[in-house]
Symmetry: C2
Subunit: 385 residues, 2 copies
Amino acid sequence: MNYKCIAFLVLILLTYNVNLAQSNQSKAIENFKPSSVNQPGKEYPQINSEGRVRASISAPNANKIQLDLGGVKYDMVKDDKGVWTGESEPQDSGFHYYQLNIDGASVPDPGTLYFYGAGHWGSGIEIPASDSDFYAVKDVPHGLVSETIYFSKLTNSFRRCFAYTPAGYTNDIKARYPVLYLQHGSFEDETGWASQGKANLILDNLIATKQAVPMIIVMDNGYAYKPQESNARPVSVFEEVIINEVIPMIDSKFRTIPDREHRAIAGLSMGANQTMRIVINNLNTFTYYGGFSGTSNYPSSEVIDPSLFLNGAFNDGKIVNKQLKVLWLGLGTKEPAPFPESVGAFKAMLDKQGIKYIYYESPNTAHEWLTWRRDLKEFARLLFK
Amino acid sequence: MNYKCIAFLVLILLTYNVNLAQSNQSKAIENFKPSSVNQPGKEYPQINSEGRVRASISAPNANKIQLDLGGVKYDMVKDDKGVWTGESEPQDSGFHYYQLNIDGASVPDPGTLYFYGAGHWGSGIEIPASDSDFYAVKDVPHGLVSETIYFSKLTNSFRRCFAYTPAGYTNDIKARYPVLYLQHGSFEDETGWASQGKANLILDNLIATKQAVPMIIVMDNGYAYKPQESNARPVSVFEEVIINEVIPMIDSKFRTIPDREHRAIAGLSMGANQTMRIVINNLNTFTYYGGFSGTSNYPSSEVIDPSLFLNGAFNDGKIVNKQLKVLWLGLGTKEPAPFPESVGAFKAMLDKQGIKYIYYESPNTAHEWLTWRRDLKEFARLLFK
């Protein structure tokens, strides 16, 4: 085969690929329906059976509008009425943050409800999952999600947390309940778990079918800093806030069982990293730990020396095995580096130390909320039993 | 004076006026500070001591951006870095909904928290009020705001309401509490009162200073329709939902005092109109009524015939006086037509019927949330005493 022949073949292949890409983009199956997290009465954004997202907005005088989703900016196209429409490639099942870009301005899509993620309140889209039943709103007894404001002396500020109390909490006024402290990830806040996380619905459904025991869930804000001195770097006091302020406040405001056997702590990503440190420093306070897509060695994937890591807290595997009834690690099968590597290094250390743990993989999900909803569902079933 | 002289005078006056307007616009006092309802860490929008709002957004490729606030669109100006900035005329104290218009697209300002009003989730701005202390977050015992989901047979749908329970509710588990049912206005929803309405903070502060008795506040969604038959007009069943579904659900979920002496109902604007009908049709269920900027004759300002109005419910003034301990009407002094005229016609009917009522005017506020925060503060002090 001479080089001309090869060049011709390459040309054919390139042309074929380009055609493939274009037809892929244009051949969206026309069964789009409004997203379940749209504002009341809003027709857009929509999702089709492939998981493509179609956005639409009226902006007669704009030069360029893009749908900014999953790290890709998709050009939208203007019709003769000044309405811009465009769609994405198929997305993973579950919840995704996104925004619109109008002539350079990144703004929320006026069609959706808003969620706190990526450091701002912005739009979200929910791609229906095959297992969405476990977080669906059903006609079962529903718990309450309560917003509570407290003054934190450690941070010298008013802070807010949300508490889920299970159905029956308000009626059976003698019953006392175990507590799961549940943390969000980086650039998220205390609203995440009971909104895009669906923690309340997941527990409502688990408790109604007796798969989990009734429990309280406390969702605080993982960002907590010492009052800042001039020019000093912010110093996190989140561990102290949880241990010295939040737990006593919750134990006084709610009918908890205030002992270590009835306390669990878990978190996602940054929250997993934070709560692993908290649990290992406070084994007299908690009995259960859940790390969803994160470990405290993040972002390192290097071999962990247990005599050095977290001040040697994992050095004596017997103590950890005795104190923690459940040590849970979860990860989505599509998570990007360095999550699999970092969690993998941590698992290898646990294996070496003979420390028992449960490792859960969420099928076909990345570093996103469907992974963590599934983690919570599986983890909550193991608690306080 | 000849016509030339008059023309000259007019020209001078016109010029003077134009100059006045321009200098008014340009002479904003440069003491702008971030709004209290901005997202964490966001510098814009800002407010100065005159109550002007300054918005700012990066949009290098936009043709035109406007700040859309209080029914006026203010042109913003682009700097050499592609950042658009502009300010409004001075605004009334209190909370206002607003949005940005980018090349014809109406979108939320990415700088603010979001609030449901005008039929969508959008931006809000808070102009500091001289009396803002009564709704400030203070170091007093704080109640909880709870989200509860319930299935409504009347609408065949899941619905959501929020309930405020006062500080102490979770500790003193034998105490039972009176309940205020509190409704939002048109194109708002069940989130309004505990967000832009500050109902929880207002009650926290009143209860802490013993100006109000501890009470539960229930905030439901005023839009409730029968399952729709094909082509039929939607039929509101909100009254039936409140009486037959919400009240029994609240009395079972919360430790209420479930009798008429310990139940109040109030609402703003559309909510005032709705709750007036509900209270007058259900005098065996409620003892207190608050109409904030609205009455059921809205939008009419015509003389009311009490033998016809609401099926003659106000015809026997003695019954109304006996059954309602408080009949409250509130209005902002700057409210536009037809609110003053409509409430005025209703008041005239009450006077004619010898029905006792309290009339409250909120100084220097229009048909907006500061009027209703003040209404709630004054009204709540009169309840259950």
